[in-house]
Symmetry: C2
Subunit: 319 residues, 2 copies
DNA sequence: TTAATTTCTGGAACGCGTTTCAGGTCAAGT
DNA sequence: ACTTGACCTGAAACGCGTTCCAGAAATTAA
């Protein structure tokens, strides 16, 4: 049962049926009634894929995310969804695991018109590739693209990082362990972290106290163990997530070791429960903005500020 | 640039080009080479929407979720994704807010072939509606459908609920507050909670100690306040999420009130941090199973056991 | 050397809705 | 009475890839 069947049954043409369905002008009352009757009688609904093909638009936005565990991504996703839903767009989850082939595959699906636009919450392939693929559709990334001409919604992190490290310095810490999601060489965010640290402390962060590939509570726990096993005793751990900080803390507690000071990120519930200083990167807002950019024709960059949050300082080391 | 253009340029027909693209048999080496050359030269990629239309399949699975904040949904989503990705399916997020019109709209989009199947992590419309819409595509729900003929992947909760309440009884608690996501009348899960409670305690849970519509940490906090303001002093709070329990706990701490015993659910990080007894509903596995059902032709029900988890009991009331 | 396969290939139909365009009607304006 | 413009309508083209079927050519089997 398709639009042509309805046309035949109602005695009108497919064009008229299409007009009725889409509430277009230039349809007589007679035609409208006749068509609606048949549609109702046969319980007809139009095929969305055919419509998408015809219109050249799917109302689907692909959202590429390296993994799903990290709240960074769920935060952005929520922001995107909250903006996409009222606008009549759907979001398609595209897990990438930072795999270049997989990401390329998604870009090609953009070319193939499977999505109207694609948002990279993060990406393993080069920014240059992303920029080049813009010929085939709207692409948005979620970090500062520097001089590259590409739409981006991201958090301006430097001030909050500086604030965090300044506060750290005021606490008279000397050995700061930094836990990162990705290595300095791979991630602009990681580079920024290093820069902020260096600016405040006057020297680069120690490699002995650095751990990368850290994403979850469990990773945080393992990092602390690794530090301990390498006889490193940082007096502060700066991590890229409250959950991660919580994991590290747990390792020390479990082993009756003194817990270093902790700074988290993402303003997660764990941080709230443990009263950790944290950095809120406003991911929900980033998601909203990314969506707006995705469906707009302009190529532009928008950013929001992140905030270093010092909670009322109770003791953080108790269980 | 479409397949017909490629056909013309290569001197072969669209049918042959299609065969080359899809690596079908019955193509001569000459034809293959010629077509591939033109495809490469013009950097042609086929249109996915046209292909979907032609094949009558989108490889998209719609996943309806009432809201995005609750880890119940993110857990299932992760399970679905982990299964869908290797199978070449994508998942489309469909927020519903338990709104019947919205959910109906998604069901209609299934009819309209926008999705190959649809998974309801939860639903506001009647199970009967869901059952009826199966004519139009594969539908999976995530709770025990009773006698209704519909595919379902869900957690068998009764044993863990019983175990939890039995443990509670052993702790000699008398006034158990129950915090639920949805009212008994609306939710089978809520009914089960009540049944388990009644079975163990020999009487129905107190309405004065019941709160519904509770989903987040903040809701948990508000519930505790509400209980307090109504002069209710439960000696245990049974909540539908560790985060929620954590929220309730925080209210008591903030007001220097004794913290009742707590039982959480979902085995969340907050529960881990606070050493809460919890119930793990195995949502990741539910997601996996739901996906398998979604792409299979059979209509069947599968369930997994949930587990009551009693952690090593440290004191839960400190900060 | 036939008969029977298997391999190639392309025209045309199919999946299905949208849109353009041309042709026609009818009421309002001059 | 004549022009103008708004209103209706449908055939056909368009978006684009897949597949069935028929016919031709090349092998293989007998």
């Amino acid at each position: 049962m398709n639009i042509h069947d309805i046309a035949k049954l109602s005695g009108y043409s497919a064009a008229t049926v299409s007009r009725v369905i889409n509430c277009r002008k230039y349809v007589s009352d007679n035609a409208k009634l006749a068509v609606q009757k048949v549609i109702k009688e046969y319980d007809y609904v139009p095929n969305d894929v055919a419509r998408d093909l015809s219109k050249g638009k799917t109302h689907n936005i692909g959202v590429v995310m390296p993994h799903t565990k990290h709240p960074y991504y769920t935060g952005i996703i929520n922001g995107i969804m909250d903006a996409a839903f009222p606008a009549g767009y759907r979001i398609v989850l595209l897990p990438s695991m930072y795999n270049a082939d997989v990401e390329m595959n998604y870009l090609n699906r953009l070319r193939r018109k499977a999505y109207d636009a694609i948002i990279f919450t993060s990406h393993g392939i080069s920014l240059e590739d992303l920029v080049n693929y813009q010929t085939y559709g709207s692409i948005v990334c979620c970090h500062d693209p520097g001089n590259y001409k590409i739409s981006a919604a991201y958090t301006e992190r430097i001030d909050s990082y500086l604030a965090a490290f300044k506060w750290a310095k005021e606490q008279n810490v000397h050995d700061v362990s930094i836990l990162l999601s990705r290595d300095f060489t791979l991630s602009a965010t990681s580079q920024l972290t290093r820069k902020a640290f260096s600016d405040v402390f006057g020297h680069a962060p120690s490699n002995d106290l650095l751990r990368t590939g850290i994403v979850t509570y469990e990773d945080g726990y393992a990092s602390a163990r690794s530090l301990h096993e390498n006889n490193q005793t940082p007096d502060m751990i700066f991590s890229n997530g409250d959950d991660i900080a919580a994991g590290a803390r747990q390792f020390y507690l479990d082993n009756n070791l003194p817990v270093p000071m902790l700074i988290g990120q993402e303003n997660q519930l764990s941080g709230q429960l443990l009263n950790l200083p944290t950095i809120d990167h406003n991911f929900h807002e980033i998601g909203r903005l990314a969506f707006e950019l995705a469906i707009s024709d302009e190529t532009k960059q928008v950013s929001v500020e992140s905030k270093f949050i010092l909670r009322n300082q109770k003791d953080c080391s108790d269980s």
